[in-house]
Structures are given as structure tokens and as C-alpha cells.
Symmetry: C2
Subunit: 377 residues, 2 copies
């Protein structure tokens, strides 16, 4: 066991070694003491500091027994994501991107309309100071939400779900939380890369502020919509505007680089995204253009979260963006922000939108509903 | 894409298929609409319902770039856990268990004493109604905590860390949250399997209640200590006793079966535990004796969480017990309990105890401290 303390005392920078309130104490003993606590399985390698990747062996993965029947049976009905195939499917130029987008969005738009009908939600196209939006209104608005609005930002890796295709989540939110939703059809690449999307959100938000208190506005979305919610809030603070009363970030794309631990751990496990390397990586670069991917308005996890309003966050154990969500939550908490993190057993990226009838999906939106009632004014 | 809707409508039980507020709507269309939302990577297998495990290919795993320098450098200094070796190291009888425990606990006890000295915390052995405890007292008790106490339950898979070896976490909690700690040296197998541990906690708790309000008592621990915190609270409610004012569960062993999704996903990735199959599995059976492992007093995640007090939970992206922690959090939330889940980037099981000088460890106990100040009376 002495090796443990010895090895660590060589690798750790001394400035970090002192526990609170002490200036001279026996560091190796401290670390030694605690390292022995566990059924420790790893062994310290000799000559510690080289950047050695671990080799994780192949393994079988069963459907998550602790998930709901509905979610588990959906997963049992699918084959594992084929990471190699996803990596191969990358558009090479603007025309190929547009073809991909068109092939995805047409079906989506038609089915979003069917969903709106089934859920008794009306949808009107409108524009606010030049930005195209959908006004998504449930038949039975909650009287408490009479004077409130939910500003929805759709997902789709900053390339998909423009136009009517983007309103599916808006319809679900309107239906389940009984609030009026304005879903922004923000501009996207290849024609309009960053900062067009952020600018469009700010334009609509500014206009809303003329007629109402910021605390009566919620903002949120899933995936790129969650990331854009975070980025736009950074921008609102930079501009000195009042922030919304509450935010929702579902599995937010908070870091457009392949940094998060679960980008590696859940590669080939998340059945929705599969891997970063492929369409996601290409979309990140398309969106950022010449900008640094770590610009806080592009990868908002790198920003300063002081002054953020209360935020409700959702992810799952199989989510490629579990780390994005958890890292954002940590930064919010250390900045003193009210932030609620929820991790669902067996859920991949955004599954609560793909299996609407699963208990997990009802939990997600039931708690979003309670969160909005608690924090909006 | 029609295959998606079609495949799902075959696998899902119809009772779950209806969104709130509707009795007749076009189910396949609904699911179709939302399944198309994502960059969906998995494909629906033909003849869905067979229990097909996925084959997850081997992959490299780098040290988590988003973790602190201290945590990342510790991980870089270790080799990956050797799952096969861990599986081989299982005690076969009581004598072998006692030999394993003795070899681990002796070092721990000595080093716990050094830690207490370094952190200016005094430790006295005592007994309360026949149960052995350690009274762990910081030199500078927070005046707000003057009349409060933290009941600590140590970890160690219900076999390790008896006696002085169990007090490391108690010392850290006393030091960092400036509250008086009573750490229970609860009885353990092979001599005393379940329900001895739960009974010992109840005995001490009952005695504390005679001199103080329940709301002035916190209870908690890590790993088996977190699981025992949950199980004992189930028992307190069953007995009709007032529950503590606040609970802490660090990476709780809330399910002693191999059910959690991350038992599979993080096998060979969690550098502290490595795998369930080995000492953990054997310890679970040793502890439960003839009882069902899913008894809620043994695997508390299967219990009813109504009436639980506010709970602070901690886990990490590499934690074998991430699912145990997240599933517990979900059950608490759906039972209407105040519960705060925190997931740390790159952390394996209980790393905040093993790398005390890491910023992550300071965050964990800093927030525990704030949580206690917020909820104890």
C-alpha cells in the first residue's frame, strides 16, 4: 500500500495538496489513508505521468432492467448503433448538407402536424421582428400560466429541424405543461452559421421583454436547443438584459468538442447519437465556421454561469451528452445557481421525446411542469 | 422511417401508449413523428422482442479532460482495472473473509488516526446502548451546528472498515462541515449479517432522539454507508419514528443485485470497484444471508421513499453505482422528496474520499456543508 501514497505524491502538484485550514501536514499519509478505503481495483502504473489511454475490452450490454417496460422494450427492439457506419455518413459540402436536411425534415414536418392534432395544440406561423416563429398553443392553458410564455429552441445539431420540423418538442411542452409556447425557427447553416441562431433568440427575447416581465418567460429545449438556451443566456447577461424566470436544458449540447467523458464511455451505447465522430462533429464545425469551438457562445459550458436563473436539466445513463449535462450542472451549482439535475436509467440522448408514452417521458415533462409553476412569476 | 413506427407499435403494450388527455389517437404516427427527430443511430431489429444483448466493441478511454488536473492526473497514473483478476479474488469462507478484512483494516486504522491528527479532529471510542461508536469532533464546531449531530455510517461493502478503519470519512465530514459526528461501528458479517447493521443504526438513533429533535440530526455515508442510510431510513419510517433532518448518500449501494445500467456500462472503467462480479457480489450474498437481495432493507432502492427527509446525493460518470444513485434520486423525486443529485465528471466510486485534495472533493463536502446548514434545525 505504501506505493499508493508514494506514487500519488509524485504526480500531484503541491499547491492542491493542502486540506482546508492546514499549512503543513503529512501529505503522503493523507492520500495513503484514503486510497486504502476502497476495494481499489486499479493499480498505479510506474512512471505515472504519460498520457496512457486505457483499453476497455468489448462486452455484452443488456437492455436496462431498471428502466420502464416501455423504454426497455424499445431498446430490446433495436440493434446497437453501428459507429463505423455513422462515421462514414458525413456530408461533404453545402449541397449534401441541404439534401440530408431535406430528407429528414419533410417527414418530420408532416408528423409534427399530426402530433399537434392528436395532442390538441394549435400551431400558427408568425414572425417577430423578422425572425420566423411558431406560436404553439394548448387548448387548455393553465390559468396560472395565463400571462406567461415558454420560448422553445428546437434541437437537431444546428442543421436539422428547421421550419415545421422543429415544432415537435414545442407541441409536447405545450400539451404537457399547459403553457403558451413560441418556438423559434432560428437560422442555421450551411447558409447561416453562428452567430445567426443566437442573434435570432436575442431578437425575439428583446421583443417579448417589451410587453412582459422577464420572470414570466421560460426558455429551453433539447440537444442543440438546450445548448442554444445556455449560449443565449450567456449573451443576454453580456447585453445586460434581465434573464428569464426559468430555463430547461434537456441533454444540452453544451460542448461542441469531443471532451465529455461520456462521449467516450457511451460511444456505441447511445442509440440516438451513436458517436460524436460523424454528423455531429461535422455539424459542429459547420455551425462554428471560423470560430473556436470552445467560444462560450458556441460551447456554453466554457462560460461564466453567475447570474443564471433556475435551471432544470435532464439526461440518462446511456446519453452521449451525460457529461455535457452534468458538467453544466456542476458549473451552475458552483456559481450558486438553483439547478436540478435528473439522470434517467437507461435513457439515451433525448429518449423522452422519442418514446412519449414511456413513464420516463411523463416524469420529465411532469417535473418540468412543476418547475415552471415554482419559478415563473 | 415507417419501419420505426411500425416496429414500436408491435412491441409496446397498448396501455402505455396514450398520451395524457387523449383516448383515441394515431399511435404509430405519434411514435413515428418523434422517432425521426434525432440523428438516430440504432436500427430496429426484425422480430423485436427477443432479449438480445448488444455487443459493445472494445475502445480506448482517455483520462477525462473535463475533470480537475488533480483527478485527471491520478487517473493517468493508474492502469485500467483488471476485471478478470477482480473476479478471481473472492473469499470462500468465513476465515478467508476475516483474513481479507484484517489485511485491509489494519493499515486503514493507522492512517485514519494520522488523518484525524492532520485535520485537527478528535476521536473517542464510546458505546451507545451497546453499540460501539466513534465520537469524531472538530476543534472548531460551527456555532450553528452547536446542538446538532451527524450520524455517520461507513462504507466497505458491509464487510470492510470496521473499528477504527471506518472513521476516515467521519473525520473528513467533521473537518469540512464543522459538525460533531458520531460514526457507528455497526456489526457486520461474517459474524453478524443483516439485519444487525440496520438494528445498530436504529438503536443509536433511538437513543439520540431522547435528547434532541430529529431535525437536528443528519445521517449519511458513502457506498454501503449510503445504502445503509437509505435502508435505515426505511426502517425508521416503518417503526413510526421521526426521520432525520437531512440525509447524505454518496454513491450509495442502493441495489445489491447487478441491475443498474452502469454496472454494465462502467465495468472495467470504475477504477475503485472495477466490477460487481467478485468481492462485491460475494459480499452482497454474505450480508444478505438467506434473505432476498431485493428486500428494501437490503437493497433500499426497492422501497417506498414517501416521507424521506431532504437528501444530497453524489456520483460520477465512471461510477459503477451511478445507476444506483440516479435510480434512488428518481424514486425520491417521484415520491415528492427534496433530493439533489450531483454527477462529477470522470469520478469513479467515492473518488472524493480518495483524492481529498482534488477540487471535486472540496466541492462535494462544501455543498454537503451548505446542505446541512439549509436543512438541519
Amino acid at each position: 500500500m505504501n506505493q499508493v501514497g508514494h506514487g500519488l505524491s509524485q504526480t500531484l502538484p503541491t499547491r492542491e495538496l493542502l486540506p482546508v485550514g492546514r499549512t503543513n501536514n503529512p501529505i503522503p499519509i493523507l492520500i495513503f489513508a484514503v486510497a486504502a478505503l476502497a476495494l481499489r481495483a486499479g493499480d498505479l502504473a510506474e512512471g505515472s505521468k504519460q498520457d496512457t489511454s486505457w483499453h476497455i475490452p468489448s462486452r455484452p450490454l443488456t437492455a436496462p432492467a431498471g428502466a420502464s417496460d416501455v423504454l426497455r422494450e424499445m431498446i430490446m427492439g433495436m440493434s446497437a448503433p453501428d459507429v463505423a457506419a455513422i462515421r462514414g455518413r458525413v456530408p461533404r459540402d453545402a449541397a449534401q448538407w441541404k439534401a440530408l436536411v431535406a430528407s429528414r425534415d419533410a417527414d418530420m414536418a408532416a408528423n409534427a402536424a399530426a402530433l399537434a392534432g392528436a395532442l390538441e395544440v394549435s400551431v400558427e406561423r408568425d414572425s417577430i421582428d423578422g425572425v420566423v416563429v411558431r406560436r404553439v398553443t394548448p387548448d387548455n392553458v393553465d390559468p396560472k400560466h395565463e400571462d406567461r410564455v415558454f420560448l422553445h429552441l428546437h434541437g437537431g445539431a444546428y442543421v436539422l429541424n428547421g421550419g415545421d420540423a422543429g415544432k415537435v418538442e414545442a407541441v409536447v411542452i405545450a400539451h404537457r405543461t399547459r403553457i403558451r409556447v413560441i418556438s423559434i425557427d432560428y437560422r442555421m447553416p450551411p447558409d447561416d452559421p453562428f452567430p445567426a441562431a443566437v442573434d435570432d433568440v436575442v431578437t425575439v427575447y428583446r421583443r417579448l421583454l417589451r410587453g412582459r416581465a422577464a420572470t414570466s418567460i421560460a426558455m429551453g429545449g433539447t440537444s442543440a436547443g438546450g445548448g442554444l438556451t445556455l449560449a443565449a443566456t450567456h449573451k443576454l447577461i453580456e447585453l445586460g438584459l434581465d434573464v428569464p424566470g426559468a430555463l430547461f436544458a434537456g441533454s444540452p449540447w453544451a460542448d461542441l468538442t469531443k471532451t465529455g467523458d461520456t462521449h467516450f464511455i457511451n460511444e456505441g451505447i447511445d442509440h440516438v447519437l451513436g458517436t460524436y465522430n460523424g454528423v455531429l462533429e461535422a455539424a459542429a464545425r459547420l455551425y462554428a465556421g471560423e470560430r473556436d469551438l470552445k467560444d462560450p457562445l458556441i460551447s456554453p459550458v466554457y462560460g461564466d454561469f453567475r447570474g443564471f436563473p433556475p435551471m432544470y436539466l435532464v439526461t440518462g445513463t446511456r446519453d452521449l451528452f451525460l457529461s455535457d449535462t452534468a458538467r453544466t450542472h456542476r458549473k451552475l451549482r458552483t456559481a450558486g445557481v438553483v439547478a436540478e439535475l435528473n439522470v434517467y436509467e437507461g435513457m439515451s440522448h433525448g429518449d423522452y421525446l422519442f418514446v412519449l408514452e414511456a413513464p420516463e417521458s411523463h416524469e420529465v415533462f411532469g417535473e418540468l411542469s412543476a418547475f415552471l409553476l415554482r419559478h415563473l412569476r
